[in-house]
Amino acid sequence: MPSAKSILVTGALILCTSAAEAADFSLSDMFQLHGYGTLGVAHSNQDQADVIGAPNQNPGAGYSSAWTPNLDTKLGLQLDTKFTDRLTAVVQVISQNRYDNSYTGKPIHRYVPSVQWANLKWQITDDISFRAGRMVLPLMMFSEFRDVGYANTLVRPPIEMYGIVPFSTNDGADLTWHHTFGSVTNSLVLFDGGASLRQPGLTLESHQKGITDTVEVGSWTVRAAYMRSPIKTTTHVFDNSFYTNFIDAAGSLPNNQGDAAAAAAQDLYNRYQTTHWVPIDHYDLGAVYDPGRWFAMAELYEDRNPGILGHVHSQWVAAGFRYKTVTPYVMYAHVSTSFPYEAGIPLGGLPAPLAAYGGGINGLIGVLQNVLNANERQLAFGVRWDFMKNLDFKAEYAHLQAGYGSTGDFQNAQPGFTPGSGADLISFTVDFVF
């Protein structure tokens, strides 16, 4: 005796099927499920700090464990929905070792799936489309597909550039104009949105608006991007009163004798305290030449902030040669940070306790500049082998070297880690798509 529920379900299925047939439409036309993933293992010989493969990744290889799957292993699933020829939706969920928005404070939850893409796309004309929802932040040349191992020749894009900006998504909207002029294809994207990030001891918010332009002609792809992203931290090491108490005290000294000190402290507060929005300008320029048998690529990135983050400069180049199914490659990447010289708060003429307090603020600025000074270079040799349909195997040797006095991109640095140290990293990955 079939239950009422099963009759109802069967009835609904028959209705759907006949509706679909009547409209000459099938579910496979409306929905498509795709996926990608990487099984990886990496080894670092630096036992006093971790090498990481992407921002917000913890733990990495080295101090936490000499051999680990945590750098590259991931799984992504994507559902494409086509409502009409002009209205489509994409939802992509990824599980990987990132703190991103999935952080719950428990390391065991590192692989909790997070939503990478979730947007509606309206193809307004053949050339113009509009999306709203969550998109991946299109800041650098490979940002949007960095997690899709199969789509990349290298094991991973270099941490020296792709580790600078901790935000990977943009919740908002974008407008794309994609047009072909003769043999030149140009794609212009305007985007506006925001992101927030929770990590242990840090919550960051970002407004992100920018423009990217990609030109494809023959074997060349050239891409430029600009983004302005004010950021704000909602958790912070020093309370605002650390600055404001000094400003108030210096500003209320008789005969305006503390005014210069108060103004200098206010200026440092504006540029080094991130409890209010602090602007950052990002610039990126990349090019790929890929005639088929070999390829070469280069990318330049710079971001500028008037205070706490300084100026970050990064460059990388890679080249490879395809011999049948085997592609050996070489990659070099570099990042450096520069800070403006800070004269600090003028302490002359201040009462002794206030001068000591001002000296403390000056000292903090020096410490911040030192802590945030990422300086590192990486040289990598690897090979990609397309051994089966929709599957590749990669092996890579890399040496990562922090710059003088810097911890570079190393994480979980222990007291035994000497700034300026390096690591040898060996990685093996298998990438798949379906």
Binding site: D126, V148, T180, E216, P291
Partner: protein
């Protein structure tokens, strides 16, 4: 003497067979609907459509069971199957495009192209019929 003739004959047969096979393998016709406004296209235009750089037309792909696919991409774009898949993976997983529909036989490709004035496909040249027109021949 007859031995030499036999050898020569055999060599001729091998050369002929290889030549014939090559000639047959070269015969791929890139087709659009007979109702399409397109009349001829360049290999660069076709390459851009099949690599997702241009959305001027809707590409229809052959499944890799067909013999034409590898040859088509190699000749049109200078890329092998894995490179083409990597390029489409970038587009699919960034929501920029959906991969071309793959059909199993020349007959299915002909039917799909004939039915859609905006579609483009490729088949063995000998399979072409009046429902479609040839815009490019892959040599």
């Amino acid at each position: 003497m007859s031995h030499i003739n036999k050898t020569a004959l055999f060599a001729f047969a091998v050369v002929a067979a290889v030549t014939l096979r090559d000639a047959r393998a070269d015969d791929i016709a890139v087709i659009v609907s007979a109702h399409s406004t397109a009349s001829t296209m360049t290999s660069d235009e076709i390459s851009r459509i099949y690599l997702g750089k241009s959305n001027a037309m809707k590409p229809i792909d052959n499944s890799d069971k067909s013999g034409e696919r590898a040859q088509f991409y190699s000749k049109i774009a200078g890329k092998d199957a894995a490179q083409v898949k990597a390029i489409w993976s970038k587009l699919v997983f960034t929501g920029k495009a959906t991969a071309p529909k793959e059909l199993d036989s020349n007959a299915d490709v002909l039917k799909a192209v004939a039915a859609d004035p905006n579609a483009i496909g490729y088949v063995e040249k000998s399979a072409v019929d009046s429902r479609v027109k040839v815009v490019f021949e892959v040599k």
